[in-house]
């Protein structure tokens, strides 16, 4: 198949359907509206599309559909994600596969509608209650967004865990040439699903309540063991440009592309820099980042926020290499030039 | 005797809703004993009057009661 020019939101929707998404529940919010609009038009007849009354209802519909065995998905943007936190915690607690696309914008509160990355903590640290983890994938463009949403369904089904695809408004709104994988994503058996079918010989119950603390602790430990496995197996990142550079950028999503331009510009000025790009924000590539940073003069973490991923970067480095931060916020996006200057400043007026 | 009521006594919580529901007043709580879950269970003290109306079972919240009717 040849490439087509598609809007990120629509490409994500199409890729989700191609990956077997058969239940979508969403609520309008800028900048992800085209995603729900695409779903309303193209969700196959056998699948379910519901424009929910709210983000809260949408995630709980996902909870129901996923509990009943569907490949279920919802999408939203920043304040909408905030409203889904309880539901996400329920999905995690009941170990349900669910895909949540977050096309983030500026905050806090109503904030603005332009692209931003102030929702890193929201995605990686939850905000729902309890000890749970959500896999978080961070694409850097439309093509990768389509691949990651596919992967999200795979990971969700494999680990029976919610997966967030954390895009920003740029990815949602821009068009890029894209080739969507249309191969069927193999179905993974869900013998645990509560789909009203006692012919299987026993009742299925989907639940996150454990009134007995011994059982709840056991449940927490089992979840932890699952997360350990995820942390062991699913870390993903990209290390690009000269690995022996003197400076290493860390960036995810759209800004990582701007970093690449900055690296070219730096090269022109005789400064050698490389890029470490986490593709999974949870599990975060702590070890790989630490290793990649060895020998660097410093690491510069560039985010479209006032500084959120920088904590994970520092957790990786454990003080082994200095970590600096450069951020813009509220819909403002840095230019390569700003990053070049930031690097030069930290290099000490070179 | 037109009916017979059987109590799954260890599920009884001694709420006495059956007692109040019985039109012929033949049910009571047995205050002389405590069942496995800690309550005085209900019992029938005069089965001969039972009319198998199922009122008791209809009102029992804990599905303690089975009712049989004499086949004539």
């Amino acid at each position: 198949m040849s490439k087509v020019l598609m809007k990120g939101n629509e490409a994500i929707a199409q890729a989700a359907i191609a990956a077997g998404c058969n239940a979508f529940f969403g609520y309008p919010i800028t900048p992800q509206n085209e995603l729900i609009e695409y779903m309303s038009k193209y969700m196959p007849d056998k699948g379910a599309f519901v424009q929910a009354e709210s983000e809260l209802a949408a995630i709980n519909m996902v909870y129901g559909a996923a509990a009943a065995g569907a490949r279920a998905m919802t999408s939203s943007s920043s304040p909408g994600l905030a409203l889904k936190q309880e539901g996400i915690s329920y999905c995690a607690g009941a170990e349900l596969p669910a895909v949540i696309v977050s096309v983030s914008r500026g905050g806090p509160g109503l904030g603005g509608i332009l692209p931003a990355q102030g929702d890193y903590n929201q995605a990686t640290r939850g905000g729902g209650n309890g000890d749970y983890k959500v896999i978080v994938l961070a694409p850097n463009g439309v093509q990768e967004a389509t691949e990651m949403v596919r992967k999200a369904f795979y990971l969700a089904d494999t680990y029976r865990n919610p997966v967030i695809v954390l895009a920003d408004g740029v990815i949602g709104q821009m068009m890029e040439p894209v080739e969507i994988n249309t191969e069927a994503l193999p179905l993974i058996a869900k013998p645990w699903a509560s789909d009203g079918n006692l012919s299987r010989g026993h009742r299925n119950v989907v639940n996150s309540l454990f009134l007995n603390p011994v059982e709840l602790e056991k449940h927490n430990q089992d979840l932890r063991a699952k997360y350990d496995l995820i942390e062991e197996k699913e870390v993903d990142y990209e290390l690009s440009h000269d690995e022996n550079a003197e400076v290493m950028f860390v960036a995810y999503g759209t800004p990582s592309r701007i970093v690449k331009a900055a690296i070219e510009n730096l090269k022109a000025e005789g400064i050698n820099a490389c890029l470490f790009r986490p593709k999974t924000l949870y599990p975060f590539p702590y070890e790989a980042l630490k290793k990649a940073a060895q020998g660097k003069k410093f690491v510069l973490c560039a985010e479209l926020s006032m500084g959120q991923m920088i904590q994970d970067v520092r957790l990786s480095l454990e003080g082994s290499v200095p970590a600096h931060f450069y951020g813009r916020a509220g819909g403002m996006v840095f230019e390569p030039k700003e990053l070049v200057n930031a690097v030069k400043d930290h290099l000490g007026g070179r | 005797m037109r009916g017979e009521v059987l109590f799954n006594t260890d599920r009884c919580k001694g709420c006495s809703l059956c007692v109040h529901a019985c039109p012929v007043h033949i049910l009571a709580l047995d205050t002389t004993r405590v069942n496995a879950v800690g309550y005085n269970p209900a019992y029938c003290f005069d089965m001969s009057k039972c009319i198998a109306c199922t009122n008791c079972a209809t009102m029992c919240p804990d599905t303690v009661i089975t009712v049989k009717r004499l086949d004539i």
Binding site: K3, L5, T30, G169, Q173, R257, K260, A261, V333, E335 | -
Partner: protein, 180 residues
């Protein structure tokens, strides 16, 4: 190749987003890396619209053009006023001459003022002004041919309305042919 950073801007109904998309399609069909990023949200309501198209050999770095615009289509005065400060020195600016009257006297780049509304009026279809603009803009990008442009129009808009497509192409050709 030198990165193309093109902005197409104007009023909401002027079809500037489509112009950008056509250029993006052209680039894609030439196997170049390209991104098209629109302005969005309620501020567009009855107001201005614009899109950023970035074309590069292998990979587009930032889909947002903060500065260094190489090609600008300004379909009205506010569009020019807004983006002029973000242009590269050697920018090529195509303007909709009847609605863009004030170009700073110290402007150093290339300026191509054409009355697209007039072209459209001549064709008795006001909607096609943007196709004329597309033609004029395309001509400033030597890597694309006139035929490429026509193909893109057919590919993107052809299916909907065949008779309009003909007009579109006509407008495109007039824009393409026009000397500033």
């Amino acid at each position: 190749m030198k990165t193309i950073k093109c902005v197409s801007a104007g009023f909401g109904g002027q079809g500037v987003l489509t112009v950008g998309q056509l250029i993006a399609i052209l680039a894609m069909d030439k196997d170049l890396a390209v991104s098209w990023m629109p302005s969005y949200g309620p501020e567009m309501r009855g107001g201005t619209a614009n899109c950023h198209v970035v074309i590069d050999a292998k990979e587009v770095s930032s889909p947002l053009i903060a500065e260094g615009i190489t090609h600008l289509l300004a379909m009205n005065q506010p569009a020019l006023d807004k983006f002029l400060p973000r242009c590269a020195e050697d920018v090529v600016i195509v303007t909709n001459a009847s609605l863009v009257k004030n170009v700073p006297s110290d402007f150093k780049g290339s300026l191509i003022p054409i009355d697209f509304n007039q072209i459209a009026q001549d064709l008795n279809e006001l909607k096609v002004a943007n196709m004329a603009a597309f033609g004029a803009l395309l001509r400033t990008m030597p890597m694309f041919s006139r035929e490429d442009g026509i193909e893109a129009i057919i590919k993107k808009l052809g299916k909907k309305n065949e008779s309009l497509t003909e007009l579109n192409i006509k407008a495109f050709e007039m824009g393409y042919a026009k000397e500033a």
